[in-house]
């Protein structure tokens, strides 16, 4: 469960303070499928980064699974990112030097998982995302859809309870994008909390709960 209370995030542009997030109150239950929509600059990515503990709010309180996380140390926050949160990015963010299998293995390495377990889990993930044929290929040798599948496999390899996807289909054509959405929605069906940031209305409408943002505030919050 994600619970945000009076979260504010400001950036400074010269002398002026700009509110990226202005007094956000939000609760997302475990297993929900939420889309966050809004024009660029509305603060939707900042909200996602704060939920993912990549960014720190200037004020407010954030509870994850009943525990306050804003005051945790850098090391403890890294641990939560590793174990509870999976990120999927618009531009995939794969390490170009590493093969598909090695990219998927990265979170396991950071988690200090023993080598034998790593191999088995990476194999299982490659199979689940139909990447077995591409395991030893580098990102430059993969198609866009394959790259995003690798990224999703990497985001889920630690079996996180929350998947945060920032414009996951933004760099993909319509059909491939739809396939990726099916993969993400399958994760949601398996019980994972899925939060997608997008400015594509059609995509946003697929979520069971749609949050609309503008100027750092939540404008609409509707369940469908």
């Amino acid at each position: 469960m994600i619970k945000l209370q009076s979260i504010t995030r400001t950036f400074h542009m010269g002398d002026q303070a700009v509110y990226a997030l202005n007094d956000i109150n939000l609760q997302i239950d475990s297993g929900e499928y939420v889309s966050i929509m809004g024009p660029s600059g509305s603060g939707k990515s900042t909200l996602l980064n704060i939920i993912g503990l990549l960014d720190q709010p200037n004020s407010g309180r954030y509870e994850l699974d009943g525990k306050p996380v804003t005051d945790l140390t850098e090391i403890e926050q890294a641990r939560i990112r590793r174990e509870k949160i999976g990120f999927v990015f618009q531009s995939f963010h794969l390490v170009p030097r590493l093969t598909a299998a090695e990219n998927i293995e990265l979170p396991l390495i950071l988690g200090g998982i023993p080598v034998e377990q790593r191999q088995a889990r990476v194999q299982a993930a490659l199979q689940a995302f139909e990447l077995l044929q591409r395991a030893q290929h580098r990102p430059s040798e993969l198609s866009g859809g394959q790259r995003q599948r690798v990224a999703i496999a990497r985001a889920t390899i630690m079996q996180p309870s929350v998947i945060l996807a920032d414009e996951p289909t933004g760099n993909l054509d319509h059909q491939i994008g739809a396939e990726v959405m099916v993969l993400l929605e399958n994760l949601h069906h398996a019980g994972t909390t899925l939060i997608i940031v997008t400015h594509d209305r059609e995509l946003g409408a697929r979520a069971h709960r749609q949050i609309g943002m503008r100027d750092g505030r939540i404008l609409t919050d509707q369940h469908s």
């Binding site: 641990r79 990112r81 990015f89 963010h93 030097r97 590493l98 390495i109 988690g111 200090g112």
Partner: protein, 400 residues
């Protein structure tokens, strides 16, 4: 992230940036190789000089007529022009000293040697049988004038002289003429080559009495003294000074040089020289370190998005820092190892090209070279590693 994983991951990074890594490793390797080879040369020169000194005798003291002042140079000591001469009687006084194993009075001059229709100018040493062991010379054939037979007109020829005068016949037993006197060849020196600029292959040795008569002098050029043990050198020197002072009416008009003192001086000078060249070579290691720092800084800005990603999937700042440290460690360690190998190989080539130069890199230099390389590499990576660790994840992810 476990330590083996950190090392393995950074090792893969090093391997994947092949050209960049090879160039840094090469720079590091050249620095270490320079340290190893230059110290090998320096230490080789030092050992060469020490060997040369040892080859002219061990536990050696040399008595010179005249006094060398404690400051400044006393020209008389060098030229042998002194108010009071050093005589054979002085030399015989030294025999009583318990620390002394043997001594050899020495006169040096030049004379014409002729035999078998050949003629040449030779350096003539006048001495006793002890000269041979004290100066570490060896007889190839025959014998030197035995004790008590100093007065008999016998001569020992240097190896080259013997070869020149008697190329086809046995030199021993031949009669030769030296100056106006006739001598019987009693021995031939073994070929030794040049040591300390003095070639024993081109001298002849005759009994001291004959030498003094031939050169019409009663004074000695030197007395060479060999002590029984290394520890005896200093007491022997003091005792000899006392005896000779007494014999010279209380006037201390002789100088005693110990081989040890000269050797020590050379040893210190050449050791300092070795250190100096090692230091100069070490500068190239620092340069290599700066190169590593530069390359790592470039790597941080190149891999900004990657660092952001690592943070997003759960890397701590110290994970990132350690990854960059480990990368620098691999580069400098590999460079140091190759440098050590190159250096050893180079020293081997020097030894092969100049067999008389024992160009072995001293252990301290090899260890110091490798250590300085690794430490510079690590120190150079502190700044880039910290920069990488401090990167803001969100901003880093925004970079492409």
């Amino acid at each position: 992230m476990t330590l083996p994983d950190t090392l393995l991951t950074s090792f893969r990074t090093v391997v994947s940036y092949r050209l960049r890594s090879l160039l840094i490793i090469l720079a590091m390797a050249l620095g270490v190789a320079a340290v190893v080879m230059l110290t090998a040369l320096g230490d080789g020169a030092r050992n060469y000089v020490i060997n040369q000194f040892s080859s002219i005798g061990t536990n050696l003291l040399v008595v010179l007529p005249g006094r060398a002042e404690t400051s400044g140079s006393f020209l008389g000591a060098v030229l042998g022009q002194t108010p009071r001469d050093l005589t054979l009687k002085d030399a015989q006084l030294l025999e009583r000293l318990p620390q002394i194993r043997r001594y050899a009075p020495l006169n040096v001059g030049a004379a014409e040697l002729s035999a078998a229709n050949r003629l040449r100018e030779v350096t003539v040493l006048g001495s006793t049988e002890h000269l041979i062991p004290i100066r570490h010379m060896k007889l190839a054939q025959g014998s030197f004038l035995q004790q008590g037979s100093e007065r008999s007109a016998q001569i020992v020829l240097g190896a080259k002289i013997a070869r020149e005068f008697f190329p086809h016949t046995q030199a021993i037993g031949q009669r030769v003429r030296l100056g106006d006197n006739r001598f019987l060849v009693s021995g031939v020196l073994a070929a030794q080559g040049e040591t300390m600029g003095f070639n024993t292959d081109e001298v002849v040795i005759i009994p001291i009495d004959h030498a003094q008569a031939m050169f019409n002098t009663t004074s000695l050029f030197r007395i060479l003294v060999e002590t029984k043990h290394h520890n005896d050198i200093e007491p022997a020197k003091q005792a000899m000074l006392a005896i000779l002072k007494q014999a010279h009416d209380g006037e201390e008009d002789i100088t005693i040089i110990t081989q040890d003192a000269i050797l020590d001086t050379f040893d210190r000078i050449l050791h300092a020289l070795t250190l100096a060249v090692a230091g100069i070579a070490a500068i190239s290691l620092i340069v290599a370190g700066i190169l590593i720092m530069n390359v790592m800084l470039v790597a941080v800005s190149q891999r900004t998005a990657e660092i952001g990603l690592l943070k997003a999937i759960g890397a701590t700042s110290s994970d990132i820092r350690r990854l960059f440290f480990a990368e620098a460690l691999w580069l400098s360690l590999t460079g140091a190892m190759f440098g050590f190998l190159f250096g050893q190989l180079g020293s081997q080539l020097i030894r092969w090209a100049y067999p008389q130069l024992p160009a072995w890199a001293p252990l301290w230099a090899s260890i110091a070279g490798i250590a300085v390389a690794v430490i510079t590499g690590i120190v150079a990576s502190i700044l880039p590693a910290n920069q990488a660790a401090r990167l803001d994840a969100v901003q880093a992810l925004g970079k492409r």
